[in-house]
Symmetry: C2
Amino acid sequence: MLSHAASHIDSSRPAISSRRASPAQNPDVGGVPKQHPLIDAMHMMGATMSFPSETEIFGEGEAADYAYQVISGGVRTYKILRDGRRQVAGFYLPGDIFGLDFQDDHTVSAEAITDTKVVVVKRSMLMTLAGRDPVIGRELLNVTGSELRRVQTRMLLLLKSAEERVAGFLLEMAERASGGNVVELPMTRRDIADYLGLTFETVSRTLRGLANKAAIEVTAPRRIVLRNWSALRLLNA
Amino acid sequence: MLSHAASHIDSSRPAISSRRASPAQNPDVGGVPKQHPLIDAMHMMGATMSFPSETEIFGEGEAADYAYQVISGGVRTYKILRDGRRQVAGFYLPGDIFGLDFQDDHTVSAEAITDTKVVVVKRSMLMTLAGRDPVIGRELLNVTGSELRRVQTRMLLLLKSAEERVAGFLLEMAERASGGNVVELPMTRRDIADYLGLTFETVSRTLRGLANKAAIEVTAPRRIVLRNWSALRLLNA
DNA sequence: CGAAACATTGACAACTTTCAATTGCCGTGG
DNA sequence: CCACGGCAATTGAAAGTTGTCAATGTTTCG
C-alpha cells in the first residue's frame, strides 16, 4: 500500500477537465470526448488521492511503483543537489502524467505545490496493459515522447540568458495553462528560479525588466499578463 | 526516397560493435549476443548509409520520416538560433539511436561530426512493428526512456559552473565511449561549448584549469586522459 | 491586526563572455 | 622534405551578466 501520511483516498471520481497527456492540442470539440484508452484505463483502475499544499507525493530513491495523473492543483518534481541547491525538474498541471520513471526507483521527488488531486495507478499494471494492447503502448510512447520534447525544450532554455529563460518559462506556462494572456503562477519565485537555474532575485529583476519593456505586466506577484507575445517569442527563438 | 546528396547507400551490412540502444549496461557476455528485436529489425529492414564529415543527415523542419542508428563515427544534433548562436542538442556515438522525434517534423538538424555510417529505417515502419509486437514497443519505450534520462542528466549539468559542466561532460563521454581513462573527442571545442552552453574560450580555459589540478591531462587537443575520477565526480554532484 | 513568508531593490563580488592577439596543428603544394 | 596557409586552440585583458549579501516593502493568513 501507498504510505502517504499526508494524503487520503477519495471515494469520488472527479471528471478530468483536460487531456493534456495526449499530444497537447487536442480540444474535445463538440462535447463528445475522444477515446483515450490510456487515460481511461488509469481512471478505471486507479485511485484518486488528495495531497495538501506542500506535501510530498513520493521521494527520490523510493520504489517507482506508481504513476500519477494530475486532476487538479499542481505538482513539482525536484532533486536536492549535494551542495544543498534544489533543482526543480518539472511542473505538472491538470492532465499531465508524472512519475513514469523508466527505472526501478524514482529519480526525483514530487510535491504538491497547492492542494492537489491525482489519480494513482500501478506502473506494472500500465506496463502489462501496454504489452497486451498496442494502442495503449502507443499512447504511453506518445506521453513519453511529449515529456522528452518538453525536457529537451527546457534544456535548450538553460543554455540561454536569464531574460530568455524567463520569457521562455512564461510562454510555456501560458501555453500549458492556456488562460489567454493571463498567466496564473501556482509557484513561488524560488520555484521558478530553481526551475530555470537562476536565483530568485534574478527572476524578480528580469520580470521587472520585461515589464519595463512593456512585454509583460505584473498585476500581482503570481499573476502576469502577457502584453507582447512577439517580443517574448523573439527572446525564445 | 532520401535525398542526401552527400551520402551513398552501402551494399555491405557492417556488424554493429555496440548495442548502446538497449538499457546501457548490457554486455553480451559469453560471446552469444542477446536478442534485441528492435535493433535486429532496424538492421534487417534498414539501409546502411555513409555521410562524410561535416555533412547534413537531416535538417530542422524536414519531415521526420526516418530513424537512425549510428554504426561508426559520430553525429551531433543542433538548432541554429535567430541570432546565429548554435545550440548542440546532443551527441550520438556508435550504437545510439537518433531522429526518433515523436512529431511529424524534426525539431533539430543532424550532422556527421566525422565520417559516419548509420542504419536508416522508416519511422512509420518502426511504429507499425511496435503496434504489432509488444516486445518491440517496449524496447522503443526503453530507448526513449534512456534518452529522457540522459537529457535530464544534462539538464542538471547546465545549472552548474563551467568547471562542473566540463567535468560532467568528460565523465559522460568517458562512460559512453568507454575507452578506459582515455577520452577521444570527435568534436571541436566549439561543439563542446555549444553543447554545454559556454564559449569555446571558457571550455579551453576550464580544461587547462582541470589539468592544472591534475584531474586530467590534455595529451592532444582531441585526446584527454582522465587522471583523477573522484575529483571529477566531486564536481559532478 | 500582526507575524511570517514572499517579493523587490540596491551595491558589490565573482564568474563568464567578448574582443584581440598568439600559438599550435595538419594537409597541400612547391 | 619543408614551407605555407588555414583552422583549431590557447591565452590575456576588459566588459558584461548573474550571484551574493543585505535592507526594505508587500502579501497572505492565522
